[in-house]
Subunit: 98 residues, 2 copies
């Protein structure tokens, strides 16, 4: 069962993400990051890999794309805030973009 | 060479799109439409088909996705407004969503 991250988990789980370009969204318990790629094919190719993981985790991003740029927001609607699923998907997005 | 749509072309080319759920964007020479699908797999599957067409036409949408919803804005940055490419991609998006 997914639960909202507790205060101590935020330091240990969200902290490391903030060192990789993720940031807290103002006014929401959510994280965001902008991913830039070489071109549209690279950007959408990355989105496609992420999409398969998102479906597999049953946890989906809010995201927009304009050519080679993808903006992502992650939060867990079921718990009205950040959960371990957001941390997992954020880490996966980072590694797929490397 | 891509050119901005002329006034008479707007009636004949953009008019029919407005009858299929596309609308003018306020304050921009652009069109927008929200596509709703059954679930994320259907939504992203459609996006993937559109992405291949977009790359083939070398004309890319501004779009965002949250689960089964995709919001699209089309305009042609090179001509700072709507061109025949937007009309073509909008029609393709409609037919792929049918």
């Amino acid at each position: 069962m997914t639960e909202k991250l507790k205060d101590d988990e935020r330091g240990t789980l969200v902290g490391p993400l903030l060192a990789t370009g993720w940031e807290m969204v103002e006014g929401r318990d959510a994280i965001r990051k902008t991913f830039e790629f070489k071109n549209f094919v690279e950007a959408f190719g990355w989105m496609t890999q992420v999409a398969i993981w998102a479906e597999k985790l049953n946890h989906h991003p809010e995201w927009d794309n304009v050519y080679r740029t993808v903006n992502v927001v992650l939060t867990t609607h079921d718990v009205d805030g950040l959960s371990a699923l957001d941390v997992k998907l954020a880490g996966k997005m980072n590694s797929l973009a490397e």
